[in-house]
């Protein structure tokens, strides 16, 4: 394993599962055992996870799910990955009420008090993971990808009026 060479060569390189599990454990308190049964790969700045299986030696466009981005500090989990692993989180989670959940799903920023450490958090609603948020100084910025956002009722209404 050599994270630096994959960054340059733009190919999928195997990653130690413990490398990934440790990062998720220290940020979200997710038990290391949650990551058993998966293989991890790094390509450029992205980390991918796939069900543990013998992969034929052919050329891949994607291997499993893109679960995190290492480009910036801190590293960023994808919303898809949080929807798979996030329910095991024991810290840096925020639970929303129904009004705030809808605003979050529209991709907007919420003003909210939380004792989370600044950085990426798992956002829940009614016990289900909605996705990734960025928390700092009483603000929660939705990281829901564009194509998975709810259409904003208010905004659309305003446009139609004009």
């Amino acid at each position: 394993m050599s994270p630096s060479s994959s960054r340059i060569r733009n190919i999928f390189e195997p990653l130690e599962p413990s490398y990934v599990a440790d990062l998720w454990n220290s940020r979200f308190g997710i038990s290391l055992s949650v990551f058993l049964g998966y293989l991890f790969f790094r390509k450029a700045q992205s980390v991918w996870a796939v069900n543990d299986n013998c992969l034929p030696r052919i050329s891949y466009e994607a291997i499993g799910m893109r679960i995190m981005n290492l480009k910036d500090r801190p590293w960023k989990p994808t919303t898809s990955a949080l929807q798979v692993f996030g329910r095991h989180a024991t810290k840096n989670v925020i639970h929303l009420d129904s009004i705030n959940a809808m605003i979050f799903l529209e991709g907007k920023t919420l003003v909210i008090e939380s004792n989370c450490e600044p950085g990426y958090v798992v956002v829940f609603y009614r016990g289900e993971v909605l996705g990734c948020g960025l928390y700092s100084h009483g603000k929660l910025v939705s990281q829901i990808p564009k194509e998975r956002r709810m259409a904003s009722v208010v905004e659309n209404g305003a446009c139609e009026d004009q």
Binding site: N51, L55, Y60, E61, G64, M65, R148
Partner: protein
């Protein structure tokens, strides 16, 4: 002239077929059991007052009574996937099991890939192949939204997919899409026998390669959403020297047997074992499905 007229002889109750063909399709969705089980999902829909009806032939298929099903929270969170009713047939015929290795040779946008994944309970490996770079994007985003962890994506021309053995292969071939006419106009305008013959060469090569890649005794399913025999029975007939057809039976879903006579030519009798699905039989689109077992 209506390009469908050439099917007057093979489609039963042709006038009724033509009438239904011009009616819009009801929106349908599949429950994604990778993220949500069926009772919980139905409970949510009930709570939110969303009307639905479960398919008679598949408990995970739903007819939805909403205008934009794609905007439902359940869809955005990946609890359901908007998918045409008959598009759920080929994975069931393929019958993948957890732990197997499966190839989806023509995969984007991945509706069937993801259904196969849930049938395999996210275990084993599916290779979803799609040569078009632009079409890899929706394939990836559907897999990710639906929580699929056992799919790897490749971009080979399916005719040259490298020699790796598979338990099962799905060939959901590029076709003239006549069975999708109810989704919107425009499909038919491009449809004719010449176009079907052009596609046939590609379809035969894809199916032949799929059979090369399947292990002996492995299952290969060939499907299209078109009525043209040139793209269906005539394609399957070309591989009957290396595989045998198996009858498809899906209780609750009406089908017609594959045809054995076309344009005055008699085709292999075994082609009756393949299935044709017409819009007026189940109020759906149109599909053709053949299940082959490699010798």
């Amino acid at each position: 002239m209506d390009p469908l007229q050439r099917y007057r002889e093979i489609i039963p109750n042709f006038d009724q077929f033509q009438r239904v063909q011009s009616l819009p399709l009801p929106p349908t969705a599949r429950i994604n059991t990778l993220k949500m089980d069926e009772p919980r999902l139905l409970e949510r829909l009930d709570e939110e007052g969303i009307g639905y009806k479960t398919f008679s032939w598949y408990p995970l298929g739903l007819k939805l009574d909403v205008e934009s099903p794609g905007k439902l929270l359940e869809n955005l969170l990946g609890y359901i996937h908007i998918q045409e009713e008959l598009s759920m047939v080929p994975p069931l015929v393929l019958g993948p099991r957890p732990g197997e290795r499966v190839l989806d040779l023509c995969a984007s946008p991945g509706s069937k890939t993801c259904q196969i994944s849930q049938m395999m309970e996210n275990k084993g490996l599916i290779i979803a192949n799609e040569p078009s770079l632009a079409r890899v994007t929706p394939l990836r985003s559907n897999c990710e939204r639906l929580g699929v962890m056992n799919v790897a994506i490749t971009r080979y021309d399916g005719r040259n997919f490298p020699n790796v053995p598979f338990d099962r292969v799905l060939v959901d071939a590029p076709c003239s899409s006549e069975g999708r006419e109810r989704k919107g106009p425009g499909v038919m305008a491009r449809s004719n026998c010449k176009r079907s013959l052009d596609l046939q060469a590609l379809q035969i090569d894809l199916l032949k390669n799929a059979l090369r890649l399947a292990r002996s005794g492995g299952v290969v399913v060939y499907s299209t959403c078109t009525y043209a025999p040139e793209e269906n029975e005539l394609v399957v007939e070309s591989v009957l020297d290396r595989a045998r057809l198996e009858k498809i039976s899906i209780p609750g879903l009406k089908d017609c047997p594959g045809i054995t006579d076309w344009n005055g030519v008699h085709l292999d009798d075994d082609l009756q074992l393949s299935s044709r699905y017409y819009p007026h039989l189940n109020n759906t689109g149109g599909f053709y499905v053949a299940k082959l077992v490699k010798n």
